[in-house]
Amino acid sequence: MTSTTDVEKKKPFANLADSGAYQKLLAFASLIVLLIGFSIASPNFMQTSNMIAILQATSVNGVLAVAATLVIITGGIDLSVGTLMTFCAVIAGVVLTYMGMPLLLGVAAAIASGAFCGLCSGTFVAKMKIPPFIATLGMMLILKGLSLVISGTRPIYFNDTPGFDQISRGSLIGEVVPAFPIPNGVLILFLVAIAASYILGRTVLGRYTFALGSNEEAVRLSGVNTDAWKMRVYALAGAICGIGGILIASRLNSAQPALGLGYELEAIAAVVIGGTSLSGGRGTILGTLIGALIMAVLTNGLRVLSVAQEWQTVVTGAIIILAVYADMVRRKKAS
């Protein structure tokens, strides 16, 4: 109970450097190295249209990765993001094409059904105490099957809903800055990311998300209704997958019921590359975005370089390991 030491006085500066701009820039290091490398290797890489293609390719995976980030920070895992996205797309297809409802209703239905399925996973995990891996694996299979059942194993096209494809393909930015026609899908990804960041950083839900991942029992013993909060996090993640469903449906102008398997691993990979720990309690949306971008740049760059496809896979694997390694080394130095 003695007085403040000089240590405490020094700390604010240390803190500043820690979270400062310099640090944040460094987090991009692997991404920037990749961008520079590919630009040198191929003159076609650094074109506006290709940059936009990369961003476009990030949009769906990015949104799913944001959803996965939330669940992973609670110490869980969500294997159902990919098939849930598809399920929501199919729901939108049913509402818009089969039932002929107006656009907004379709979007709302997709997001609501996403939230509902997320809530189901959350209930399995929180109330029934099923390990998140199994609960969401089960959901992944259930949703995969249901998408096929509901759609009649057939893609649902949105040709009767004019403007639906503009949700992802159109470009509001392009109308203002014609030189840089960033598609709306990318815009939506950034909006989702900003919203998720805000929720994580500034709201109770976010605080409990971290707390659950850090030490759930301690949170429970603090009198917090941990089950309820966990279910909310899963529901929120589900709703975000619903947005992902709209994005992909709009991009393909159809709901492809068989799609989505394997997307969960890519989303989780983006999360982990972005520095979020699978054991929970730590993570950032910015990191996840960078992770998703690294993956997209890598795949696109190797394609533009026309590397043989089998080698593309090898190089992707190696670079993912290296990128994370570089990040580990950087962080170790920083601390």
């Binding site: 109970m1 003695t2 604010p12 709201t203 409990y208 030490n215 013993l221 917090v224 209704n225």
Partner: protein, 508 residues
């Protein structure tokens, strides 16, 4: 003859913290050398340098006259240095014997384990410690006190020349401590040098030969234990006199009963426990290890299920099935195991303090008022003297005692009517301890109801207006606080093991 250990001018920096400032320390063979200091003074850090966990940033270390810089725990072991860590570091999924011999398992050919030898050797160590514990029990199923004993057994099994004990008795009760002292004396006779870190001042006179005191990462001085009054040592530690006021049990008169527990039951652990506490009262819970005090507290709080029993708060029966119900009813519980049940160690000091009271800081749309959380946290940091570089420091980087203070702050902020403190001063230094006592008394004076579970009888006697004693899941009696009650009275009740014993004293 050269000294066993000699450390001179040791410096250690952590990001934002100058943890050790040119500290010196030495150890003779066959001596018990106490290392004292407030929470965060740097005791554990100094010992981690000696045992190869941290590397020093400056200074010299010699072991038996030889320059040494152990870089890993293994190297330190090879130099003959063993350590019992302050924070338990055990593998919960392994058995007791497997934990003790980790890294040195008796083997047969082809890397096969000799499990029988393993268990037999463990049993032998336990026998020499006079400890009854099944070598095959899973460590995760043991209470912390027993886990602490496992840590001690593990350190003993190394047969080190230097044995560092970082608060080995924090989780132990008097009987267990007495057994530990027997062991320490035996080791001493064998020529082992022992570094002994503790916040229990009464232990100094019992076993230590010399005392080195640290403050704020600096070396203050080394004195002989026998010829230095305790008050002098405390003054060296905190830089001032700490005077203990004797307890003055207040007359509560007709202050209403705020918590009433009737017929609480769960299997063998809790058998028909009934008691009540008045507003403004401090009820102490005493008992031996495994008496079931923690179980009673957790059952009241809803952390564990109960088979039966009725809990009333302010005269109204409340149904408590989960901690959230308890908190809603105005009951708070500070767990004895801060690492597992008290703290989200990866989060900041600020968030941990606010953890139970988030609703106070919620604005529109669930947005948190961060500035208010910070200023609240800072006021508690000041009030409790939590030594941390800032309120945004991760809790896991604080010293053990300061972590404990963070948990206390969490419940103070929650402002419950009824607060159950389970071993609140575990690992807390003398200065801070007396501050916490004052705090509890102040809370009681404000009309709060306080239950304190403690394994330190002087603490129970110092604090409690009334003393409940438990033995093997039963409440064996409730004694009045104050001068009339002695440690012997409590021990008598705490060892009433036959089921036929009547409850003595009155349960209100």
């Amino acid at each position: 003859m050269s000294k066993l250990v000699e450390m001179v001018g040791i410096d250690k920096f952590f990001p934002g913290v100058h943890a050790l400032k040119s500290v010196q320390f030495d150890l003779e063979p066959g001596e018990v050398h106490a290392l004292m200091g407030e929470n965060g003074a740097g005791k554990s850090t100094l010992m981690k340098i000696l045992s190869g966990i941290y590397q020093r940033d400056g200074g010299a270390l010699t072991i038996e006259g030889q320059e040494a810089s152990p870089r890993t725990p293994r190297e330190a072991q090879d130099l003959g240095i063993g350590i019992i860590h302050q924070e338990l570091s055990l593998m919960n999924d392994l058995t007791v014997a497997q934990n003790i011999f980790i890294g040195r398992e008796p083997r047969k050919s082809f890397g096969r384990l000799d499990e029988n030898a393993l268990n037999a050797q463990t049993a032998r160590i336990f026998a020499s410690m006079n400890l009854k514990l099944d070598p095959k029990a899973l460590v995760g199923s043991l209470t912390i006190a027993k886990q602490q004993m496992v840590e001690i057994a593990k350190a003993l099994s190394h047969r080190s020349k230097v044995l560092i004990m970082d608060e080995p008795t924090a989780a132990l009760n008097d009987a267990e401590i007495a057994e530990l002292f027997v062991i320490i004396r035996r080791l001493k006779a064998e020529g082992v040098g022992i570094v002994y870190i503790s916040h229990k001042m009464d232990e100094l006179k019992q076993i230590t030969d010399r005392v080195t005191v640290m403050r704020d990462g600096e070396y203050v001085g080394t004195v002989g234990a026998a010829d230095t009054p305790i008050n002098t040592i405390i003054a060296m530690m905190v830089g001032r006199e700490v005077n203990e006021k004797p307890l003055a049990a207040p007359d509560l008169g007709d202050a209403g009963v705020s918590l009433q527990v009737k017929g609480l039951n769960r299997g063998q652990d809790i058998q028909d426990v009934s008691f009540s506490v008045q507003r403004g009262e401090i009820l102490g819970f005493a008992g031996l290890m495994g008496a079931g005090r923690t179980e009673v507290a957790r059952a009241i709080f809803g952390a564990d299920p109960k088979d039966g029993g009725e809990i009333s708060v302010h005269g109204k029966v409340v149904s408590i099935n989960a901690p959230k119900d308890a908190v809603k009813a105005g009951i708070g519980y500070l767990s004895e195991d801060r690492k597992h049940f008290g703290l989200a160690t990866g989060m900041t000091v600020r968030d941990n303090i606010a953890l139970a009271s988030m609703d106070l800081f919620i604005g529109k749309g669930g947005v948190l008022n961060e500035a208010e959380i910070a200023s609240t946290a800072q006021s508690y940091i000041k009030q409790l003297g939590i030594r941390t570089p800032s309120d945004a420091q991760e809790v896991r980087l604080l010293s053990g005692g300061n972590q404990q203070k963070v948990v206390i702050a969490k419940w103070l902020l929650r402002d419950c009517d009824i607060l159950i403190f389970d071993e609140p001063t575990r690992g807390i230094d003398v200065g801070a301890k007396s501050e916490i006592y004052k705090l509890l008394e102040k809370l009681a004076a404000q009309g709060k109801t306080i239950i304190v579970i403690s394994s330190e009888l002087p603490e129970i006697l110092r604090l409690s207006h009334r003393i409940a004693v438990m033995c093997e899941g039963r409440l064996t009696g409730i004694l009045p606080g104050g001068k009339e009650t002695t440690q012997e009275d409590i021990m008598y009740l705490a060892t009433q093991r036959t089921a036929a014993m009547q409850v003595t004293g009155t349960a209100q």
